[in-house]
Structure formats: C-alpha cells, structure tokens
Amino acid sequence: MPRLEEHCWRRSCTSRVESKNYSRENWVASKAEEMMSIITSVLSNVYGSLYSVQTANLIRRGLVLFTVGVFLALVLNLLQVQRNVTLFPEEVMATLFSSAWWIPPCCGTAAAVVGLLYPCIDSHLGEPHKFKREWASVMRCIAVFVGINHASAKLDFANNVQLSLTLAALSLGLWWTFDRSRSGFGLGIGTAFLATVITQLLVYNGVYQYTYPDFLYVRSWLPCIFFSGGVTVGNIGRQLAMGGVEKLHND
C-alpha cells in the first residue's frame, strides 16, 4: 500500500513537470477541430482590420498557443496519473485541479514563448522552414508526441536507462521526421536544457520531490520529453505564423 501511494505521488510529480511540454500539443488538437477554424474565421471577420497589425497577430498566436498549452497540461497530466486513478476518478480530479493549479498556466506560457520563438528565429536566421509545412503534418507531429508521452507513461521498461534511450531515439526520430532544421534542433536542445534546469531548481528548492531518483538525481528521460515537446510546439508555432487565418470555404 505505501508503495502504491509512493508510485502515485511520483507519477503526479513527474507529470507536473512534463506537462509543460505536453501543453503544446493540445494546441493542435483544439486547432484541429473545425470549430476552432470557424471561430477564428469569425474572429477574423470581426477584427479583420486588426489583423494587418503585426502585434495583434502576435498576440493572437500567443493566446492560441497558451490555450493549447493549458489544455495539454491538464490532459497529459491525466495521462500520467491515470494508472492509479481509475477506481476513484473523483479524487484524482480533485488532486489534479487543487494541488497543481499553477502548473497549467506555466505550461501555457512556456508553450506560447517557444511557439513564438521558433518562427522568430527562423526569420532572423533567414532560412524559412519549408519542410512539410501543412496542418496535416503538424497534426501528425502532435500525435507522435502524444504517443511518446503515452509510451513513457504506460509501458513498463526494464530500467530507466532503457527508457531514456528509447525516448531519446523516438525524440530524434520526431525531429527528423517533422522538422529537419538546424534551428529547430538547436532550439529544442535549448528548451530541453532550460526546462530540465528549472525542474532541478524546483526540486532542490523542495517544491517537488522525486521518490525514485535516477542517476544524478535527475529524471533522466525528462530532457527527451522536453526536446520533443519543444519541436512539436515549434512546429505549431511555425504553422501558425505562416498560415495565419485560413478561411474555409466548403460550401
């Protein structure tokens, strides 16, 4: 019994950290829905004059990314804790929303920053990202990212090293499949590094605790998750920056 509790605690801890990255994915999910596009098109009609302004566009993109981040944080948190939770969903919900209330906003902010940073860096480097620039590809990328998280949450690995190596391979595959740009790789690495450092700081300050410390007292596979999350959110951000508001004329 105490082991179970420990397990639960560990899961929720790690999931909080991971959810920063997870949140970016949700963006695509919501975007994917037709409702979203309809809403944005309606919004674009209303604020059509505003759209020409660069800052308004930036704010809009940031808002969308933030929303996605928050939503993803919640959902992926659930993905992490669900295993011990199935029997008493109401309690899980309670802990999910009470203990980590400040996590989703953080994730949303992180998603917005990273998602805006990617196209910005692209334009500064002068090499626009042209590889597979379409929403279908972005959706695919998000799905793969969720799959990686799913695997890390649900599969039983022999040890943590194996888990880390597998996740690293999967993350690299994600980058190669959907990004293939130097800036994307660099920014992903940077994101992973920063996020891991922040997580470590939080841990050392006692905000979080790991029940099962990895080698070097780091959840060694966290960087992989952060990396793939950064690539995914960057993908979304680029698509947003490029596509703007697509109007659908289906009729």
Binding site: A29, L78, A143, H150, A151, N250
Partner: protein
Amino acid sequence: MTVRERLREKISAAFYRHGLLCASYPVPIILFTSASILTCCYPLLRLPLPGTGPVEFTTRVRDYTVPSHEPQGDLGERPDWYRGPPVAYIQQVLVKAAVSPWDSTLVPVDVFRSPLGRVFSLLEEIRNHVHNDGSGVRSLEALCLQVTDLLPGLRRMQKVLPEHGCLLVSPGNYWQNQRELFDSDPDLLKTVHQHEPKGLHTSATLRDLLFGVPVKHTGVSLYSRKRVVTYIITMVLGSYDARFLSSLRARLRQLHPSVNCSLREDHMVHVHFKEEIGMAELIPLVTTYIILFAYIYFSTRKIDMVKSKWGLALAAVVTVLSSLLMSVGLCTLFGLTPTLNGGEIFPYLVVVIGLENVLVLTKSVVSTPVDLEVKLRIAQGLSNESWSIMKNMATELCIILIGYFTLVPAIQEFCLFAVVGLVSDFFLQMFFFTTVLSIDIRRMELADLNRRLPAEAGMPPPKPGPLRPREAPPPPRPSPYTITLQTPAFRNLRLPKRLRVVYFLARTRLAQRFIMVGTVIWIGILAYTDPAGLRTYLAAQVSEQSPLGEGGAGGLPPHLGVAPVFPGPGGDPASTLSVLPAPDEPTPLPENQSQGHHGAPREGVPHQAPPLVPQISWGAEDEEGWRRLSFRHWPSLFSYYNITLAKRYISILPIIPVTLHLSPREAIETRHPQDTRHPPPPSHKTNDLPADLTLYKVAALGLAAGVLLVLLLFCLYRVLCPRNYGQNGVAHGRRRRGDLPCDDYGYSPPISEISPLLLRGHSMDIECLASDGMLLASCCLAGQIRVWDAQTGDCLTVIPKHGLRRSSSSGCWEQRDGWDAVGVAEPENLGGETEPGGGVFDEDEGYPLRRRTTPRPALFEDQPDLTPLIDTNFDSQPPSHLLLTPPRDGFDFGGLVEKAYLEHEPPSPGLTASYPSPSPPSGPPPQRRRSLGYIQPPAPQGQGTPDWESAVWAMELRGNLIAAGRSSGKLELWDAVEGSLRCSNEDGVSGITALAFLNNRIVAARLDGSLDFFTVDINKPLGLLQYRGPPGHSKMPPSPCYSSEDVISCQLTRSVQCAHQKPITVLRAAAGRVVTGSQDHTVRVYRLEDSCCLFTLQGHSGGITAIYIDQTMVLASGGQDGAICLWDVLTGSRVSHVYGHRGDVTSLVCTTSCVISSGLDDLICIWDRSTGIKLYSIQQEVGCGASLGVISESLLVTGGQGCVSFWDLNFGDLLQTVYLGQSSDGQGVRQLVVLNNAAIVCDFGSELSLVYVPSVLEKLD
C-alpha cells in the same frame, strides 16, 4: 549514383506499367483487392471483441487446483489470463427466507424483519465453523481474505464494511453484525436506505454489496408480493481449501435444507477483469482521437480537382483502416496474439502509416495534363511520384526497425504491427486506391465532356449567365428583363445580423454535426466501457421470471383491524433455536415436492393455510446470482480496500443454498414496537412501484428535458425568425407562382425584379464613361458626349449639339442650333469674330455625309465663315471611316432641348469636327496633328474652341464639368448641364490617354509617357458656390457647381516630361496622390499638390494594366504578368505580391477586407487584403467582360455576356443575374461604373444600362 539512377528509372517504369494496369482493369482489381482484404481479416473473427467487460472461464470444482504461473503446454481452451492464483475466492451463501405460513395478523414489516434477523445466527455459524481432519484445524479466520483499512475517502462506509479482519459481507453489516442493534432498530428500511447514495447511481451500491442480489429481488420491502426475502452472505477467501468448504456446505445444508434445490455445485467460475477506463483515462484517449480526426481532416482537405472529393477521402480512410485490419489479421494468422490495448494504439498506428502517400498520388495524378487519356494520366502520375513514395516507405521502415530494437515488448509489438500495416497499406494504395482514383478521374472527364459539348459545337449556351464552377444550374429567365431571385441566398443582402448567424449555422450544419458527433462518441463510450453491464442487464431482463405462487396471495386483503399490537421486544434468541432441526438429520427429500407442503412439518412450523404459504423456489437464475448485479460489483467491493481487480481474476465458488422458514409466531416475537405503525400496502397494483421507481424517475426526467428542449427551440425560433416569415412575397402583385423557385420547404422568396434602364442615343460604341454619382457622361466612338441624369436616365445634354451635322462640303459636324445654354452674350462675341458664309451647314438630315457641295442656307447668314477651319484632308483618315454612317434617327431630342432650340439665337460659329477616329484608345492611334491652323477666337471667358477633329480618349466628370482628353493632346472642359465648352488647353501635343480630375486639379497622362498637371481656377466669389441637388437626397459629398457666369481657366502647372518610358496605361488619383501605371512595368506615385514624384514602385514583370487606390491609401496594381501587388502608399513598400491570373489582370477593386481582381483568364479572384491569401475564385464564362464593381462591402457586381451578375462577397454566392437586353447575347459588358446610389451603369455596346439595386438602397438608408 548510376545505381541510384537506374533504380529510379526501373521503379518509375514499374509504376508506370502498374498504373496502366490499374486504370485498364478497374473492376477486376477492386474485386481482387476486396477479396484479399477479406481473406486477411478472416482470422480476426477468432479474436475476442475488445471491451472492458469481465471475461469468464469455468472449471470443474472436483479436480480444481490453483493454476500455476507458467503456461503449461497445451491447455485447450484455457485463456491466457488464467494463470496463478486468483485475487480471491468468493464463497456465497444464498439465503431465502420466508415467514410461512403467512398469517393475516402479520404486518408488512414481518415479511423481512425476522428473516433478516436470522442472518446473525447464520453468520455465527459460519464464523464458528471449524473443520478438523488429520492435517489440522481450519476455520474461516485462517482462510479468509484479511483486509485492512478502508480507503480514506470512504468514511461513511466505515461503520458498515468490515475492517481489519475477514472480508465477510452480509446484510448484517448494517447493524455491525450485532443482533441487539438489529432488534432495537425501529425502522430497518430507513437504516438500509440511509447508506444509499443520493441521485442516480449506476454502479454497485452498498445495498447491492451487502445483500448480494439486486434490490428488486431481495424482497426487503413493505410491498413485496412474494414475501420471500433473499440475501447472500459473501465470504471472500484468500486461499482455497476444498475440505473446509465442503464441510461448511454440508453443515449449512444440514441445518437448513433446501429441499427442491437442484443447483449445480460442480462448477466454479473464474472472472477476469480488464483494465477499466475511467474519466481520467478517457480524456487522453479522446484527445488522441481528436488529433487523429484533425489529421485526417486536414489531410483529406487537400484533395482537390477530382470529381468526388468525399469519395476519394473515404477511399483513403478505407485504405488505411483496412490495411490496419489486414495487419492485425496477418499477425494473428501467424500466431501472434495482440496484447496491446487496441483502442489506445490505434490512433498512433494510423498516424504512423499516414495518408501522405495517398494524397501525393492524388496530387500527382491530378496535375498531369488533362487532355491525356485516363490510363496515361494515372500511369504518369504514378511514375512521377514513384521514387519519393519508395523512398518514404524505406525511411519509415527503417525508423520502425530501429524501434524494434528497443527491446521493449510493447514497442516491439507495436512496430511489428506497424511494419505489416505499412506493407499492406502500400499494397492497398497501389491496387485499391489507384484504381478508385482512375475511376474517379474518368468520371470527371465524362462530366467535363458533357458540359463542354454544346460550347464546342459552336452553339452558345442558351442562358449565358456566368456559371459558377460548382455547376449551379443557370438561373431561370422568365422574361428578358426580369430576374428571378435565387433561393434564400439573396436574402442575405438585407437580413439582419442575427439571421445571418442562423443562416451561417444552418449552412454549415453545425448543430447537426455536433449532435451526430456527440451521439457517435457517446455510443462509442457506452459500447466500449460497459458492454458487460449491458449484457448483464439484458440477461437479467430476459431471465427474469414472473413471480411464482401468486394465485392465493393476490386477492388477500390486508387485515387492518386485526393487526394486534404486541408490546414485547422480541429479544429472545432462544425462540430461533427451537426452529433449528436436529443437527444430524439427513435431508433426503424428493425434489419435486414443494417446500410448503412437506418441508414445513419437518421443521416443526405450524402448517395452517396452504395457499398462503409463500413458496421458496430455486431456479437456475439463483445459481449465479452475482450475474444479475452490475459487472462492477466485485471491482468496487475490492476497490474499497484498495485492491484492484484490473487484469486479474477472481474465482467464484458454487453457491450454498440455505432455505429458512419461519413461523408467524417467531415473526411476531421479533417485531419492534414501531413496526405496526407502517401503513399497510395500499393496493396490489402499486406493488412493484418502489422497485421501478428509478426507471420512472429517469423517464420523467427525460420527458421533462425533452419538453424543455422543444420549448427552448420554439422560443429560439420565435426570437430569431421574423414574424412574417414566408409572407414577404405575397404582397408582390407581379408574383407568379409558377415561376418562383421554391426551396425544399416550399418557401418561395419574394421576387424583386430588377429592370435595367436602357439609355439609348449613342450611335456608336461607347468609349468613355464617367460619373460623379448624379450625372453620367458617356462618350462614343463618334465623339459625341452625352450627359445623363443618373437618377432618372434622362438625357440632359448632348455635346456636340444635335444641330451639328456633317457638312457635305467638309465632312465635319456643324452646329445648327448653337450653344443654347451658354448664355446670351456668347453668340455676339463669337458671331462678331467670324466671317459669315465660311461655314457649310447641312440641313439635310438624311444625308449627313454629303460632300462639300451643299451651299450654306440663308438662314445662317450671320454665322461665321468656318471654311478655313474645315478639314478637308481626308487622306489622312482611314478610308473605312468614311463608310461608317451614323444612323439618321439616332438622336432623340428631349423637350428641353427642343425648346431651347426655339428660344435661342442661332449660335456660335465654327465648330468643326473631323470625323472622329473610332480607334480604341488602348491601341496606338494614328497621330493626327491639327491640319489647319485654327485661330482661336479671343475668348473673354477663357472659353476655348472645341476640337472635333480628334477622338476623345479620356473623360472625367466632376461637379458639372466634363474634362475630356483628346487624341490630339487637347484638354477640354465642358459644362455638363449646358453643354458649352468652358475651357480648353492645348499645351500638349501627344494624345491624352488617361485623365484624373480631383478637386480642382486635372492630371492628364499622355501617350508619350509624360504627365501634365492642370489647375482649374474658378474666378467667382465663394458665396456664389451652389450645391447641386437637394440636400439629403443622397449622401454623397455635394459637388460644387460651376455656374455659367464663372470664368474657368485651366492652366498647365507642371508637366513631367518623362514620367514613364512607355505609354501610360493607367492613371488613378485619390487621397491626394496620383498613381500612374505604364507599360514599362513600373508604377509611380505623385503628390497631387506639387506634382512631385514620391515613389517608383517596381515589382511587376509586365506592363501595368490595372491600378486601384482609394481614400484609405491602399494601392493595388495588376500587370500583364498576372501578378497583383499591394503597396503601402506611405512608405512605398510592397505589402504583398501574389500571382493569380494567367494573363493580364484586367481590373482590380478593393474593399476594406479583400481585393477583387479579374483577369483575361475569365477568373475573378478574391484575396484577403491583409494576408494576401486567396480566399476563393469564381470562374466565369469564356469571353466575359472583365469589368468589376463593388456596391457595398459584401456585394460584388461583374459584367458578363449581356448581363451583370451580383455576388455575395463573403461567400462567393451568385445572388442574381440581370440580363440587359434581349439581343444582348453576343455583347459583353465592357465597362461598369458603380454610382453612389447603388445604380450600376454598364457600357453595353452603344447603349448604357442603368441598373438599380433596390435592396442595397434600403440597406444604405
């Protein structure tokens, strides 16, 4: 490198041949593919259906041993989860108790009080049972599953469920297994009920857990008709001891024999529970599925240019899904059983396999030349993409292979599925999808062929309305001038916003889609999470039998008055003991005997009235009573102690039946004093009511919700729809029912007929059109300028006057009646200067081309001699011009003009005009210099002399001044109302190709590329400035009126000699800027005040053909290269640059949100102004006019072949087509001017058409 090239060539060739094959034999290939899919999916039939319901496996009790952990060889049908010991063994004791015989003195509570009371003795018996054999002493304490604390969240159950001990559950738990508490409980039902959760609860409740049977079957109720109480004592055993259990069974059977019980006791059931899906797990799952659907949506949206988009999208999805099924089927065939949760990995599999290849194939095939044969198109498309397809597939296989070496079993299995899925997907793409694509392309070509045939045969389509690419049927045409409204779309124009919202919802069918998706998801969730629950429920419904032995009890009225009040507290346990039979007595009872007759005497129960005895019967449904409970019964029981049953199993041992018969005396003795206060059962009809109360509650709630929904919808309807919905059109007198288009609901939109007003009078094709909203000036090839009232369509002025006829001697137009409106002083001035007899006047209207032989009539003796002015040099004219005969009756004089003719003096002199050159202004016209030195009379009022020799190439109208630029380079200012020449300027010699008239400045672009800025000075006091038109009549800014007394002078302020290297084609002025476009590929922006060149905009790769600039400083330009550029006028930077047309951009219009362009390719494109993204395009008929106009923000008007069409800009819907004339089929609308009052003026051959759009008028008001 060479190897790669060779490989590439081979692959390409193979794909080419394959494409030929697929397109040649579509039907056999599709049949073959379907057969192979079905074959591969056949092994799937053996797989269990996915679901989270428990799975059962039955073994015999006799030779049961705990299964070992390792699978041992061939185990027959033994499932793979049947390994290792179960979580627990469940031993249940099913107690059926009844007070028999039923006494009329008993109160309803007696039905269950004493039977329930017996549970305590039974519990004691069970707890104290000890089996002793050679190996040792065993008791329940040793065998049972020891539980610890309840979960922290279950405080309210703490008193009821056992803690720290054996998990032994019975109804006695309600009273903490203490007889005293039970006996002193005044209201048993209340005790039972107070633990029930509030509201609807579908899973296991506490009552279910403790009683062990569904509430309906317990019989613990005041209204029970059967009077048999059923409950179960559940023992949860941690280990299995056959001997102890059999001794317990024997003991209980000995104590309480069940005579007619024929329950099978030789099977034990193992129930395996799968992992449950709760909300927490469902949300990520739903998220992944949403991502999946988004992926499919965005992928299939890219399919374009095919006959049936949806069909192809469906084929693509079918390809992926059946490849997955094939993958699973093949893996199963070769012995691999899927262990992963199919629902979870499915989205990832789809995403990994992907729809990309399918889309790439479609795109490639579609982009092949259309005129090729279908077979060849398919083959070419395939071979074009063969290399990339193969490369992608190899890459994916490599990635998956890498994944296979992670050595994680789950990932390995996933990779295996993915590899097989990829291969089968490739197979299906090559055979299934390619074939479907070929069929689709063939269908599209057939459809195209059918549509084009009439046009190719040279027959013009009967109804030349612009056809939309979606093949909307051409609008019906009841009469040439009448337009029938197209269905409710036109109502958009004048509908309020709320209705637009509703139409938007209706058009996109949001509500239906929501409901459909919601229903599908709900059904899916239901089927996925609760199949066993449904199954149990259905089974319970089916197996439920009608109550037995109802015959006697049915008519028995309760005896109220007789019910005695017994004061005694029935706390005597000894009385129960007396009922117990002798311990060692065997019970060899015949099975067919009913308990009421034979069992009762044996137990010493007084036997009184046989029909009143409730019969205790044992049926097959009692054998496994737990089946009638929720399938979550066991998981929830164990979950209270934090024991999960997910992916584990429990073994349920055969039930031990116990039959209890109690005497009425005992029942009375155990009675609580308050029991008699319960009301008697009111009637037998309502007996079943409490049991089914939940059902009624649900039904009532559902009904109420439905009614509420209907009311809400009704209210919404009332709010959103106008009251007179559908009655708009009735008031129209001209409505003809037969002609009206009705929509599906029989609603006919109101007809509004738009009749174009034809303005006739020009003898030749109209060349220039200008308008300022109130007046309309037109100039035809013959050089005649007419001024019309834009409101009424009356012809106000004709310049030159109708009196001017072609003189026979000079071939020039001469004036007969003179400047009737110029003023009194003019004729004297002019007349005095000219020499009489010089001019040749022709009165013969029938022969305007008569040569110069005709003598001048005496009537015009006072006219100046105009002979030196007459141009007789006809050699410089193309000979064909002489053959053009203006129609004699071409001029229609209004009464005003006639009167003016009578009143005024024969006027002024020598207006000679050469026969105007009909050459179009766009082409290089012959340069004609004035052949004669015309001596301009000293015009004190700054009045120039009109030049009739050269053609009018450009015209502008502001206020009541018409600025006309002639091919001779002369700029003239005419009074629009009076028709007098106010001013002229001859500073330039090159022809004026374009004019802009803004405020008091005129900008003229000349053929040699120079740009002249003129200033119009009006020498009159400001106070005299009048404003034409009644105030408030229209909202346009009133234009100043130049009265005839004013002295108007036009001075050249600045001339930019080399504005452009090549002729200026376009000139536009707005917002203080003048923009010129030239054939030298550049656009220049000048400031109007100081004629300073601000920017030279370069970016086009062809001559500029269209420019748009408006007050908001937006500048758009289109060129011969088909490109459209948007510029920032303030900075001169290019905002966006798009290619939209094949061929010239012929016209450009902007609204606040979009840019509309039309090109030589008969395409009208609508672009988003801020982003430069093409919103949509409208394909018009071939040869349609390229004229465009925007009436309001959302209403676009385009010219077509003899018609104009109105479009809704927001959605690209064709609203209406207005036909301009009967004989108009051949002529297109060349120019289109939108007036401020929403009339549209079309240049239509030699006629002008004035079309009012009444609905827009209403909207503007």
